[in-house]
Protein backbone atom coordinates (compact mmCIF):
# COMPACT_ATOMS: atom_id res chain seq x y z
CA UNK A 1 0.00 0.00 0.00
CA UNK A 2 2.77 2.41 0.88
CA UNK A 3 4.19 1.74 -2.53
CA UNK A 4 1.66 4.20 -3.93
CA UNK A 5 3.65 6.92 -2.19
CA UNK A 6 6.62 5.96 -4.24
CA UNK A 7 4.70 6.19 -7.49
CA UNK A 8 3.25 9.56 -6.64
CA UNK A 9 6.67 10.93 -5.73
CA UNK A 10 8.03 9.48 -8.93
CA UNK A 11 5.37 11.14 -11.03
CA UNK A 12 6.05 14.48 -9.39
CA UNK A 13 9.74 14.10 -10.07
CA UNK A 14 9.32 13.28 -13.68
CA UNK A 15 6.85 16.01 -14.44
CA UNK A 16 8.90 18.62 -12.60
CA UNK A 17 12.02 17.55 -14.48
CA UNK A 18 10.20 17.75 -17.80
CA UNK A 19 9.16 21.26 -16.95
CA UNK A 20 12.71 22.22 -15.96
CA UNK A 21 14.05 21.25 -19.33
CA UNK A 22 11.38 23.05 -21.33
CA UNK A 23 11.11 26.41 -19.56
CA UNK A 24 12.27 29.63 -21.17
CA UNK A 25 12.87 31.61 -18.03
CA UNK A 26 15.83 30.44 -16.00
CA UNK A 27 14.31 31.30 -12.64
CA UNK A 28 11.18 29.29 -13.37
CA UNK A 29 13.28 26.34 -14.38
CA UNK A 30 15.25 26.58 -11.15
CA UNK A 31 12.13 26.52 -9.03
CA UNK A 32 10.84 23.47 -10.81
CA UNK A 33 14.23 21.85 -10.31
CA UNK A 34 13.96 22.42 -6.61
CA UNK A 35 10.56 20.75 -6.62
CA UNK A 36 12.03 17.80 -8.44
CA UNK A 37 14.81 17.49 -5.93
CA UNK A 38 12.38 17.56 -3.01
CA UNK A 39 10.39 14.77 -4.59
CA UNK A 40 13.53 12.72 -4.97
CA UNK A 41 14.26 13.34 -1.31
CA UNK A 42 10.88 11.74 -0.50
CA UNK A 43 11.84 8.72 -2.54
CA UNK A 44 15.11 8.47 -0.67
CA UNK A 45 13.20 8.47 2.58
CA UNK A 46 10.93 5.71 1.33
CA UNK A 47 13.94 3.67 0.35
CA UNK A 48 15.19 3.67 3.92
CA UNK A 49 17.86 6.34 3.52
CA UNK A 50 16.79 9.22 5.76
CA UNK A 51 20.26 10.69 5.97
CA UNK A 52 20.52 10.87 2.18
CA UNK A 53 17.07 12.50 2.06
CA UNK A 54 18.20 15.13 4.52
CA UNK A 55 21.35 15.77 2.57
CA UNK A 56 19.37 16.07 -0.64
CA UNK A 57 17.22 18.79 0.81
CA UNK A 58 19.89 20.65 2.71
CA UNK A 59 22.78 20.56 0.29
CA UNK A 60 21.42 19.86 -3.13
CA UNK A 61 18.26 21.88 -2.99
CA UNK A 62 19.44 24.22 -0.30
CA UNK A 63 22.95 25.13 -1.32
CA UNK A 64 23.60 24.19 -4.92
CA UNK A 65 20.29 25.44 -6.26
CA UNK A 66 20.58 28.59 -4.22
CA UNK A 67 23.97 29.16 -5.81
CA UNK A 68 22.31 28.81 -9.20
CA UNK A 69 19.69 31.32 -8.20
CA UNK A 70 22.34 33.81 -7.09
CA UNK A 71 24.19 33.54 -10.39
CA UNK A 72 21.05 33.88 -12.43
CA UNK A 73 20.12 36.97 -10.49
CA UNK A 74 23.62 38.37 -10.98
CA UNK A 75 23.44 37.86 -14.71
CA UNK A 76 20.13 39.63 -14.78
CA UNK A 77 18.91 38.33 -18.11
CA UNK A 78 15.25 39.15 -17.46
CA UNK A 79 12.85 39.63 -20.32
CA UNK A 80 15.61 39.96 -22.83
CA UNK A 81 16.83 36.52 -21.84
CA UNK A 82 13.37 35.03 -22.23
CA UNK A 83 12.99 36.53 -25.67
CA UNK A 84 16.38 35.21 -26.65
CA UNK A 85 15.46 31.74 -25.49
CA UNK A 86 12.22 31.81 -27.37
CA UNK A 87 14.13 32.60 -30.51
CA UNK A 88 16.66 29.88 -29.97
CA UNK A 89 14.48 27.07 -28.74
CA UNK A 90 12.41 25.72 -31.60
CA UNK A 91 10.21 22.59 -31.42
CA UNK A 92 11.98 20.87 -34.25
CA UNK A 93 15.21 20.84 -32.24
CA UNK A 94 13.65 18.28 -29.91
CA UNK A 95 13.24 15.59 -32.54
CA UNK A 96 16.80 14.35 -32.85
CA UNK A 97 17.74 14.29 -29.19
CA UNK A 98 14.30 12.97 -28.38
CA UNK A 99 14.73 10.01 -30.67
CA UNK A 100 18.21 9.37 -29.31
CA UNK A 101 17.00 9.50 -25.73
CA UNK A 102 14.07 7.28 -26.57
CA UNK A 103 16.40 4.66 -28.02
CA UNK A 104 18.63 4.87 -24.97
CA UNK A 105 15.63 4.58 -22.69
CA UNK A 106 14.46 1.44 -24.42
CA UNK A 107 17.91 -0.08 -24.19
CA UNK A 108 18.24 0.77 -20.52
CA UNK A 109 14.81 -0.55 -19.68
CA UNK A 110 15.64 -3.77 -21.49
CA UNK A 111 18.82 -4.14 -19.49
CA UNK A 112 17.23 -3.24 -16.18
CA UNK A 113 14.15 -5.37 -16.60
CA UNK A 114 16.20 -8.52 -16.97
CA UNK A 115 16.92 -8.48 -13.24
CA UNK A 116 14.27 -8.95 -10.57
CA UNK A 117 14.87 -7.89 -7.05
CA UNK A 118 13.20 -5.83 -4.38
CA UNK A 119 14.65 -3.37 -2.01
CA UNK A 120 15.09 -4.60 1.51
CA UNK A 121 12.73 -2.67 3.66
CA UNK A 122 15.46 -1.72 6.06
CA UNK A 123 16.21 1.71 7.39
CA UNK A 124 19.86 2.54 7.28
CA UNK A 125 20.24 5.11 10.06
CA UNK A 126 22.79 7.93 9.92
CA UNK A 127 24.80 6.23 12.62
CA UNK A 128 25.53 3.32 10.35
CA UNK A 129 26.48 5.65 7.55
CA UNK A 130 28.81 7.57 9.82
CA UNK A 131 30.56 4.41 10.98
CA UNK A 132 31.05 3.33 7.37
CA UNK A 133 32.37 6.76 6.42
CA UNK A 134 35.04 6.75 9.12
CA UNK A 135 35.81 3.14 8.55
CA UNK A 136 36.26 1.62 5.14
CA UNK A 137 35.53 4.84 3.20
CA UNK A 138 37.94 7.12 4.98
CA UNK A 139 40.11 7.63 1.94
CA UNK A 140 37.11 8.58 -0.18
CA UNK A 141 36.21 11.25 2.34
CA UNK A 142 39.69 12.72 2.20
CA UNK A 143 39.63 12.71 -1.60
CA UNK A 144 36.28 14.40 -1.66
CA UNK A 145 37.62 17.11 0.62
CA UNK A 146 40.58 17.70 -1.68
CA UNK A 147 38.19 17.93 -4.62
CA UNK A 148 36.15 20.53 -2.79
CA UNK A 149 39.31 22.46 -1.96
CA UNK A 150 40.26 22.52 -5.63
CA UNK A 151 36.79 23.71 -6.57
CA UNK A 152 37.00 26.38 -3.89
CA UNK A 153 40.23 27.76 -5.26
CA UNK A 154 38.93 27.64 -8.83
CA UNK A 155 35.72 29.43 -7.97
CA UNK A 156 37.59 32.02 -5.96
CA UNK A 157 39.91 32.68 -8.89
CA UNK A 158 37.11 33.04 -11.40
CA UNK A 159 35.11 35.20 -9.11
CA UNK A 160 37.99 37.57 -8.42
CA UNK A 161 38.63 38.02 -12.13
CA UNK A 162 34.96 38.60 -12.72
CA UNK A 163 34.83 41.28 -10.07
CA UNK A 164 37.95 42.92 -11.44
CA UNK A 165 36.63 42.83 -15.02
CA UNK A 166 33.33 44.23 -13.85
CA UNK A 167 34.97 47.07 -11.99
CA UNK A 168 37.11 47.93 -15.01
CA UNK A 169 34.11 47.70 -17.29
CA UNK A 170 32.18 50.10 -15.09
CA UNK A 171 34.93 52.74 -15.15
Amino acid sequence: MEIVLFYIAGAVTISATCLVVTRLDASHALVYLIVSLLAVAVIFYLLGAPFAAALEVVIYAGAIMVLFVFVVMMLNQGRRGVAQERGILQPRMWIGPGVLSGVLLLEMIYLIASQTATTAAVVVPPRQVGIALFGPYLLAVELASILLLAALIGAFHFGRRYMRDRREGAE
Binding site: I14, L47, L75, A120, V123, A144, Y162
Partner: protein, 104 residues
Protein backbone atom coordinates in the same frame (compact mmCIF):
# COMPACT_ATOMS: atom_id res chain seq x y z
CA UNK B 1 11.32 6.47 9.85
CA UNK B 2 9.82 4.01 7.45
CA UNK B 3 11.18 1.88 4.68
CA UNK B 4 9.13 -0.04 2.21
CA UNK B 5 10.08 -2.69 -0.23
CA UNK B 6 9.84 -1.51 -3.80
CA UNK B 7 10.64 -3.53 -6.90
CA UNK B 8 14.18 -2.49 -7.74
CA UNK B 9 13.52 -2.26 -11.48
CA UNK B 10 11.00 0.45 -10.95
CA UNK B 11 13.42 2.62 -9.06
CA UNK B 12 16.13 2.07 -11.60
CA UNK B 13 13.77 2.83 -14.47
CA UNK B 14 12.86 6.05 -12.69
CA UNK B 15 16.54 6.87 -12.42
CA UNK B 16 17.03 6.08 -16.09
CA UNK B 17 14.15 8.31 -17.10
CA UNK B 18 15.46 11.20 -15.04
CA UNK B 19 18.95 10.66 -16.44
CA UNK B 20 17.73 10.73 -20.01
CA UNK B 21 15.61 13.79 -19.42
CA UNK B 22 18.73 15.52 -18.20
CA UNK B 23 20.68 14.25 -21.21
CA UNK B 24 18.03 15.59 -23.56
CA UNK B 25 18.27 18.93 -21.84
CA UNK B 26 22.04 18.99 -22.40
CA UNK B 27 21.61 18.13 -26.06
CA UNK B 28 18.83 20.58 -26.81
CA UNK B 29 19.35 23.74 -24.75
CA UNK B 30 21.82 26.29 -25.94
CA UNK B 31 21.84 28.42 -22.84
CA UNK B 32 24.72 27.46 -20.57
CA UNK B 33 22.71 27.84 -17.37
CA UNK B 34 20.15 25.35 -18.61
CA UNK B 35 22.88 22.94 -19.61
CA UNK B 36 24.35 23.08 -16.12
CA UNK B 37 20.94 22.49 -14.68
CA UNK B 38 20.45 19.49 -16.91
CA UNK B 39 23.79 18.16 -15.75
CA UNK B 40 22.58 18.49 -12.19
CA UNK B 41 19.49 16.49 -13.07
CA UNK B 42 21.69 13.74 -14.50
CA UNK B 43 23.87 13.60 -11.43
CA UNK B 44 20.87 13.49 -9.18
CA UNK B 45 19.55 10.55 -11.17
CA UNK B 46 22.85 8.73 -10.67
CA UNK B 47 22.60 9.39 -6.97
CA UNK B 48 19.10 7.88 -6.96
CA UNK B 49 20.44 4.76 -8.64
CA UNK B 50 23.12 4.43 -5.99
CA UNK B 51 20.69 4.80 -3.14
CA UNK B 52 18.47 2.19 -4.72
CA UNK B 53 21.43 -0.16 -4.93
CA UNK B 54 22.30 0.44 -1.30
CA UNK B 55 18.68 -0.12 -0.28
CA UNK B 56 18.64 -3.44 -2.08
CA UNK B 57 21.23 -4.77 0.34
CA UNK B 58 20.34 -2.65 3.32
CA UNK B 59 23.90 -1.34 3.41
CA UNK B 60 25.19 2.18 3.98
CA UNK B 61 27.44 2.00 0.93
CA UNK B 62 24.78 3.41 -1.37
CA UNK B 63 24.36 6.49 0.78
CA UNK B 64 28.09 7.02 1.01
CA UNK B 65 28.40 6.88 -2.75
CA UNK B 66 25.54 9.30 -2.99
CA UNK B 67 27.41 11.70 -0.72
CA UNK B 68 30.47 11.54 -2.92
CA UNK B 69 28.32 12.27 -5.98
CA UNK B 70 26.86 15.18 -4.08
CA UNK B 71 30.25 16.68 -3.27
CA UNK B 72 31.25 16.22 -6.89
CA UNK B 73 28.14 18.06 -8.03
CA UNK B 74 28.85 20.87 -5.63
CA UNK B 75 32.41 21.27 -6.81
CA UNK B 76 31.39 21.19 -10.40
CA UNK B 77 28.64 23.74 -9.96
CA UNK B 78 30.96 26.13 -8.17
CA UNK B 79 33.57 26.11 -10.93
CA UNK B 80 30.98 25.88 -13.68
CA UNK B 81 29.10 28.96 -12.57
CA UNK B 82 32.33 30.85 -12.32
CA UNK B 83 32.95 29.92 -15.96
CA UNK B 84 29.43 31.02 -16.85
CA UNK B 85 30.15 34.45 -15.40
CA UNK B 86 33.35 34.72 -17.44
CA UNK B 87 31.52 33.60 -20.55
CA UNK B 88 28.90 36.27 -20.10
CA UNK B 89 31.58 38.84 -19.51
CA UNK B 90 33.55 38.05 -22.67
CA UNK B 91 30.89 37.13 -25.19
CA UNK B 92 27.99 39.15 -23.88
CA UNK B 93 25.60 36.24 -24.23
CA UNK B 94 25.16 32.75 -22.85
CA UNK B 95 24.80 30.87 -26.15
CA UNK B 96 27.21 27.96 -26.12
CA UNK B 97 26.99 27.37 -29.86
CA UNK B 98 28.68 30.71 -30.48
CA UNK B 99 31.63 29.74 -28.32
CA UNK B 100 33.14 27.26 -30.76
CA UNK B 101 36.59 28.59 -31.54
CA UNK B 102 38.32 25.42 -30.38
CA UNK B 103 37.72 23.56 -33.64
CA UNK B 104 39.67 21.90 -36.48
Amino acid sequence: MIAISIPLEHVLVLAAVLFLLGATGVLVRRNVIFQLMSLEIMMNACGLAFIAGGARWGAPDGQIMYMLVLSLAAAEVAVGLGLVLQLERRFGHLDIDQASELNG
